[in-house]
Symmetry: C2
Subunit: 359 residues, 2 copies
């Protein structure tokens, strides 16, 4: 079985899905619906096989992914509901699922409705940020309508296997409860933390890495988040109550000088936090880090690469830690083993580059 896929909205998520699906043996063609310049870019990147018009493309698609904002779903479903083939699958990539499943329920019974939420993103918006590996090792939740046949679900799993995501099935209700706790409430909290500074320059001037990390999501698109929050309103109010309750308990313990209680809360948080699966590196082998200080001039990356390649040492990770114009920079290199790292350091030093093993 080889299917025609339609991606409506070829942005960061739709484009990344296209790049992955194009490599699936189950896929015949990937058609995208979006503005002309987006379609041109997506074609150039190899994210789709061609562009199409919404109503005609919907009529020939076996699997449709809605990758536009949730607020547009109602209008799109109205336009395509009489055209989608019986036996086709409709899915989406929206951040909440109960509302999406309500919209999907307007489609004929003969269309299979499987809500989807790949839990990965990027600060880059639009198709230019699309990445064939965006979903790799990320959670990808499916929320099938009750009564969806097992073989249809199995096919959807197989189809999405090309993304490398960890596909998991949940009810729309449970999904929305979980994302409230791990996404919506953290978002609201980040906003509250930022607003505590009242925009005061002295606060911002001192904001170090911890604050920047904790509040990064507060820099996201406010309209988008306003939409997400009000599509999950009731659950969010409940979860906010729980957070406020926990913060009050923590405040009481600190005020009472109960160091043991505070330490216990911090330790429990650390234990849990350390168990979050690492996405980016989960698939990479363990490796050893080298740090080296190099002059900042053209060709230095090539030179580092060549020195290690000469010794058959693979660079599995690389990061420019700091660069200062005219004064060199600090680069971290990951190599497969400690033996490689020792050999690499010796070789770099022999080439006059200051280097040491970091871990």
């Amino acid at each position: 079985m080889s299917v025609n896929v339609l991606i409506i909205g070829v942005g960061l998520i739709g484009g990344s899905l296209g790049l992955a699906l194009k490599e699936s043996p189950l896929v015949a063609r990937v058609i995208g619906v979006d503005e002309d310049h987006t379609i041109d870019q997506a074609l150039a990147m190899g994210a789709i096989d061609g562009g199409g018009h919404l109503e005609t493309a919907a009529a020939t698609a076996d699997v449709i992914f809605l990758c536009t904002p949730i607020s547009t779903f109602g209008g799109i479903i109205d336009q395509v509901k009489t055209r989608i083939k019986p036996g086709a699958i409709i899915s989406d990539v929206g951040s909440t699922k109960q509302e999406v499943m309500r919209v999907f329920s307007q489609l004929p019974d003969a269309v299979y409705k499987i809500g989807g939420h790949p839990m990965a993103g990027s600060e880059i918006r639009g198709v230019v940020g699309a990445d064939r590996y965006l979903f790799e090792n990320a959670a990808y939740i499916l929320t099938p309508a009750p009564g969806t046949p097992d073989d249809i679900l199995a096919f959807m799993n197989e189809l999405l296997a090309c993304t490398g995501a960890r596909i998991k099935r949940l009810t729309a209700e449970r999904h929305d409860e979980l994302v409230a706790a791990i996404s919506h409430i953290p978002h609201l909290t980040a906003a509250a933390l930022v607003n505590m500074t009242r925009g005061d320059e002295e606060h911002l001037m001192m904001a170090a890495g911890g604050f920047r990390d904790t509040t990064r999501i507060a820099s996201s698109n406010p309209e988008l988040w306003d939409n997400i929050i009000f599509s999950n309103q009731e659950i969010i109010v409940d979860k906010l109550d729980l957070l406020i309750e926990n913060l009050i308990k923590l405040r009481e313990a600190i005020k009472a000088g109960d160091r043991e209680k505070v330490l216990q809360e911090l330790s429990s948080a650390k234990d849990t936090r350390d168990r979050i699966p690492q996405v980016h590196r989960g698939i990479m082998p363990d490796f050893s880090d080298i740090v080296c200080i190099v002059p900042d001039k053209p060709g230095i990356i090539a030179r580092l690469g060549a020195i290690l390649h000469e010794k058959d040492i693979n660079i599995v990770d690389i990061e420019i830690l700091r660069v200062r114009e005219g004064d060199g920079g600090t680069i971290r290199l990951g190599v497969p083993s400690l033996t490689d790292a020792a050999e690499a350091v010796a070789e770099l030093q022999a080439n006059g580059i200051k280097a040491w093993i970091r871990s």
Copy 2:
């Protein structure tokens, strides 16, 4: 004037300070006090000129930096207080300043007391994580004891200029209030957010980038943070009250369906968050990003570097976005201009490497 510097505790912060101070024309020698193996590592990295014993080294130092945990300061000051030279400067790198200044006040009047807090860190602990540019463009707060002469403060500023940090003077009280808001409260909040999941597998499985960023600091050392929190107890209780109050207001607005109010809070947070100075890239020129998909095999970094070097295009930033063993990876390259980026993409494509401009 050329001074002898003593660094007590040559870990991540002490080591980074040493690497920077060693390049200052104001510094004659940098002596470190720590365990033997740490001293050996610091010497190999060029972070110090030699190791010493606490009491003898304190007697010959012109400037002393305490870079051990704050809880050890009392004991160290007891050991050195009769030995420090009149006219010497004592400073530190601790996270709260009122308690430190109280400990410093046990020293003779003839010793200048200037509390310090460089607001930068790394997830790597110990001297192996030390980085000559760790403090570059980061805030570095000085809290001089009342009555510290202007010329001594000016000298301290000049001495620390080698770190590239943005040095700022505050009272110890104001410092502790600011760090509560931008560091201690975010930390406690991250812990509360993590603990809301109660360690449930389904929550953790779904934790995407936003949750990981927001709660990253909850993975820090709990004992260290317990110490920091209880060295700033009263201020933290006040600030927690403020946060709880803000969260209650947000909850009311969501419950009441007041979308305008929520949007306003999110927008205000975004505006403020976007104003936080970027540390790591502040010193780098603007650059354009290329994304390329490359086979995962030894020498690929060298090859990319060589292709761009051939065209005299400098790589100012590089990041391995995703790697999949046996199936290639996605690499982001930063080059100085859009013209360079276009030329680089053309050249990479001519060499059979899929590449496009991202920004």
